[in-house]
Symmetry: C2
């Protein structure tokens, strides 16, 4: 069943406004008496549609839903800004796989010109993709999309577990480090995972991250693209902690 | 270092022909004395480029490489034919993640018109994507791209472990089935994983698959898109068996 995230105000007033009205009317083609899920990100309710107009959908609440679709950790992907539309794929699939936060990060090898005036419109588009993916995948919360920033501007102090996916690490001995760390996580851990852009992570960035407590981990025997690294990390968190 | 898969004939004659010549000359801009990896899919050698012409690259072998970049299983994704270019993404990222075979499969809810005359050109394109992704990710072998076929045409008899990713299963009790199966695999197992197209798997298809020995598995608490299901399954196989 389709879920819609609404503002606190719309949740209190039992209505849906904005872009979702078009989605309900013209994409899903819902009619009066059809059922939908509505969430304010702290509570989800099963609802029956009672009124449909150009600008607003009205509904009545049938019952509260048991929201339990989140990973037991706060998981932040600190993503080296990639080429083309890859960040949109990362946000979309990352949301399905349970990411809590994505911070688009300009790293040394990012091929990205920072145009100040476009920063906010880009972030707005990313947030829209995250909201739609969260609705479609039945998340309880919409992931946070951070400001586009430089690696050395990020405040790492809130994270309890800090990992950096580093291809060179694959050549060294300790292949099992990721597995050891993932399998020994504790509920409410706050995990930060740094993923480099296409050209990888520069040596000085690795040094900087290590100084800040980041542990380099290998993801196995093959070279993965930047977006694939994200899918791998989030998949294994779910596999280790949700299939119980 | 960039790898190139060549035919048995080119391997014997220490040369590279075809599209890779353009890649070496104009994309990578390699010069004489630069090093590359060359593979015939059973052996990989480190080589030094000795001659560059319009149609052929010549090389000398420096040493044999220890090829060990494959999952310990034969893993086949039986992929419900998805919309748009999603199959290309699945082949590209699936190859990075170690898939052995992808069979594009027309299922009940596939939105796909089978044009016989385009079948071969599509498959040719898929094989090219698989080859390039295998080279970039440093695989030892190029995944097999099967013929586009209907679900009931596939011969399942060679597979020793048969799974079907089924969203409805997520509502039932046994959430841990995938983890139990993956963690108890044996080397040389041949795994078939059925992944539905966008609309999911029809009930009669699930019945058919169960009759053929397929076990329905859940992939956790969220609804994943068809391509994300593939990335998840292959990631967890690598996580469980490569990070040792």
């Amino acid at each position: 069943m389709q879920k819609y995230f609404v503002s606190e105000n719309d949740f209190l007033n039992k209505r849906i406004t904005g872009d979702d009205v078009f989605h309900i009317r013209s994409v899903m083609r819902y009619r009066i008496k059809d059922q939908i899920l509505v969430s304010n990100q702290s509570k989800t309710v099963l609802c029956e549609i009672r009124s449909i107009s150009d600008k607003e959908i009205g509904y009545e609440i049938l019952c509260e839903e048991n929201g339990n679709h989140e990973l037991p950790f706060f998981t932040s992907i600190i993503q080296g800004y990639p080429k083309k539309d890859k960040l949109e794929d990362i946000i979309q699939h990352g949301t399905e796989l349970g990411v809590s936060e994505i911070i688009p990060t300009i790293m040394k090898r990012s091929v990205f010109k920072l145009e100040e005036k476009k920063k906010e419109s880009k972030r707005f588009r990313f947030m829209k993709i995250a909201k739609e993916a969260a609705e479609q995948s039945n998340r309880d919360r919409i992931p946070i999309i951070g400001d586009i920033q430089y690696l050395n501007q990020i405040d790492f102090s809130s994270y309890t577990v800090k990992l950096v996916c580093y291809e060179e690490e694959a050549k060294h001995a300790n292949q099992s480090r990721l597995k050891e760390i993932v399998s020994s996580l504790k509920p409410n851990d706050r995990i930060a995972i740094v993923v480099g852009p296409e050209g990888g992570i520069a040596e000085e960035e690795i040094a900087f991250l290590k100084e800040n407590g980041f542990i380099p981990v290998s993801l196995g025997k093959r070279i993965l693209r930047t977006e694939t690294v994200v899918f791998y990390c989030l998949s294994v968190l779910g596999y280790e902690w949700e299939l119980l």
